[in-house]
Subunit: 279 residues, 4 copies
Amino acid sequence: MIATRPTAGQDVRTVLDIGGRKIGGEHFAIIAGPCAVESREQLLETARSVGRGGAALLRGGAFKPRTSPHAFQGLGREGLELLGEAKAQTGLPVVTEVLDARDVGHVLEVADVLQIGARNMHNTSLLSEAGASGRPILLKRGLSSTLDELLLAAEYVLREGNEAVILCERGIRTFETAYRFTLDLAAVPILKERTHLPVIVDPSHAAGRRELVEPLSLAAAAIGADGLLVEVHPEPDQAVCDGRQSLRAADFAAYAERVQAAAALAGKTIDDDRLRAAA
Amino acid sequence: MIATRPTAGQDVRTVLDIGGRKIGGEHFAIIAGPCAVESREQLLETARSVGRGGAALLRGGAFKPRTSPHAFQGLGREGLELLGEAKAQTGLPVVTEVLDARDVGHVLEVADVLQIGARNMHNTSLLSEAGASGRPILLKRGLSSTLDELLLAAEYVLREGNEAVILCERGIRTFETAYRFTLDLAAVPILKERTHLPVIVDPSHAAGRRELVEPLSLAAAAIGADGLLVEVHPEPDQAVCDGRQSLRAADFAAYAERVQAAAALAGKTIDDDRLRAAA
Amino acid sequence: MIATRPTAGQDVRTVLDIGGRKIGGEHFAIIAGPCAVESREQLLETARSVGRGGAALLRGGAFKPRTSPHAFQGLGREGLELLGEAKAQTGLPVVTEVLDARDVGHVLEVADVLQIGARNMHNTSLLSEAGASGRPILLKRGLSSTLDELLLAAEYVLREGNEAVILCERGIRTFETAYRFTLDLAAVPILKERTHLPVIVDPSHAAGRRELVEPLSLAAAAIGADGLLVEVHPEPDQAVCDGRQSLRAADFAAYAERVQAAAALAGKTIDDDRLRAAA
Amino acid sequence: MIATRPTAGQDVRTVLDIGGRKIGGEHFAIIAGPCAVESREQLLETARSVGRGGAALLRGGAFKPRTSPHAFQGLGREGLELLGEAKAQTGLPVVTEVLDARDVGHVLEVADVLQIGARNMHNTSLLSEAGASGRPILLKRGLSSTLDELLLAAEYVLREGNEAVILCERGIRTFETAYRFTLDLAAVPILKERTHLPVIVDPSHAAGRRELVEPLSLAAAAIGADGLLVEVHPEPDQAVCDGRQSLRAADFAAYAERVQAAAALAGKTIDDDRLRAAA
């Protein structure tokens, strides 16, 4: 399997450079932003806040995978344009999800990283199409996928000649109802044994509510994750989706400082002057 | 939600007529055939056996969703042509899986029913595209999807104006390792409470081995399923995929007779003269 | 392992004779009664109804395992005395649960079968103490126990020289919330491959509501179970516990007739003249 | 519910003093030792190593709950005597498991904390008997128990007037097979919201192998646990049970230093002069 082969030599970890922001190896990256792009104001305000606070990349959904067809499906191409504008203003590279192989071309116009969501981890034609673009891929683990299945899904990207894959643990489905998904943090050291690819954690979807996001983030950093994918909103109570689990933009900088301290335990640094100083 | 609205009056169940074969209400249908179309000989021999044995429809995969990109991915369009030939020879309507929204057009040339697999249950663009074709859809429950999520996935088809959806329970992922998936037969009566759509069961993938397929089929028929989706192969030991769980074509007729007896318990009949006589 | 060794010859199935009522092999037995013994009137009325309807044994809990210490814990020894009275009046052998190794002696005064509940499947000192009594044991699968672990728990009884063990599938814990537990009917054929012991199914706890109990019972009988353990109450709406999932005593006889028809599919008969006639 | 009531005032956390060692509030305690007491030499060597390394309490099993009756069941009372000797030599208070309500008296002769294992979380008579002793109880979460069920199990102890309960997350059963159990670290902040009781984590059983124990320990400390329960053995390769997941005694002190750094992130300190200096 390509994913489990070191890129060069033994124990060499893949470090990705995305518009000057590094992830992997000793580089810890926080990818932050709103669940869904809702408006210019909402997106730009969030982008500025997370940029100032030490985020490496901006996340934001233009195409939203929703369980119900009656729920908000995202702003689509208008959302992509707003992401482009936020990138131009803040210099933050953009991560956004692609749901349909036919949209890959449009998404490539703005996205620095293509996200494949948990519900599409087994969508092999999407994996291949996104992989063939050569653009870095952020691949989320399926709700009930084993770690081996996640690596095999990554393999659909890698065999297109694209080795820039970031794996993302985001919680698995279990019987417990005290939160949305069970965050499986053991996935981090196990994936790092089996592959050279960067491994990040999304604490927001597993938590389902804001109070749990920071504790889970600290644990993820302490266990050796290469980064976090976290939802941030200027006014979570007004959010169209996932407001309950979004960090407040105003709290992001303090959150990032505490995350940096936990990442330092695992020998990793956020590439940000202010945070480096704090560490 | 459209899926949970009766089509007319109360307690009216949707009965689909697919090329003269009925499913739903009092009509119990067995959809049988190989996991994957491998060759003309393999497909035609299976089609003749299951047709003679009382199957209502022929199943067979031309596009195969595989966990690993290194595994056999199906014969593709050549497989579709062979399915067309089998339909012409036996008169059996064809069910086959579509994996990619861009393939819907090609699959429509031969398929009487479009199958959306468990790993694509959340692939909303595929659901919408397939739904918009107007062709009946066989929708499998995701590996860790709740029954409400299955109904919401069906809703993506129904809102395209296509109410010809067959729901399929195929086993969920649990901790037990004595078989491949835990067949959740309580799903049948619960789905029938919540929707007017036909509900069938795929015992083959849950079982993972032939010995369990018939017991699970009898239980599914006794609990009130409207049909079965079952893998049959002329020489299971030679099968490219899922041979271990395929029924032998030579055993199909006797199997269908026993299934018919169990379906009769739930007030259902297989529309086949020979089997009706046996019942 | 003793549990997986045939008692004599190959393919010999253990048939237990409990006060003249047989279970195992071709003998299908329904064990019916209230979740908890509540009062003389409630128990006797239920016992008479299920006895007339074809139940082989009477079930009823005197010691109740409750998740909360603030919930009703059963009538204790007074409940045992009422069970003794019901046995004397109806001739039905009694199955009742024992929760504490120190209570085994008292329970033996009335119980023809000692039940070990799902939450005590791993209570090895209770298994050994109950096993050493020589009395038949009804052993329920734990909420998240594999089938191999169930057989190893049975082994704690068998190594006391007591081979009269009835295994009971009662639903496992999964992510689905449409019912209380996922009834794992594939457990029946798999346990029958691995052991000579009788295997029964408890549909009531998995269902969590009355409407699902009969469909699950028919499926269990069709798949080859040797019997059912089912909750019955004269007035379910007044029940102290589990009323929502109890069959009405007045409906039991008709239920048993339909179960008998399903058991007949698997080559089994309820040893009751009236039901035999109905079959 | 008693467990969810603050002991005094609001936001007051229970701090237990066990033979001079504190756990809860700002006090982080490592409870370390072998899975099973095997011999005087093995136990004393381990006790000295973990004591010197900063462990607060010594753990060791005299009565072992085993899935198979054919596996080693522990040294029983001889094991208890050896634990007493280790306590006398090292001054470390002792945590040991009790499996049977009838053994509580014997175990009390040496144990400073009575452990109730995951498989006995629902053994209500054991919970009550152990609780009534007044001795602190270490209560492990069941393999498939919800957090609310864990709190209800604790309630069986608390209603005996014993509020000295330590809750322990030890991994839940899921579909993933890359480790033994899925360590549910979100349980820590959630339990701390719902109760004033100390919450610790057992990383050893979830991990199933040594390499994962330290990463999981760091994550547990960073997320705010009040302590760890960890398996340590002088020669893991020779261990009678769980050797694969035991830390080497020689590595314990370095491990404890790294854990201390992670606990400091969450505002907690190991009460040990050497470790305090290292922090």
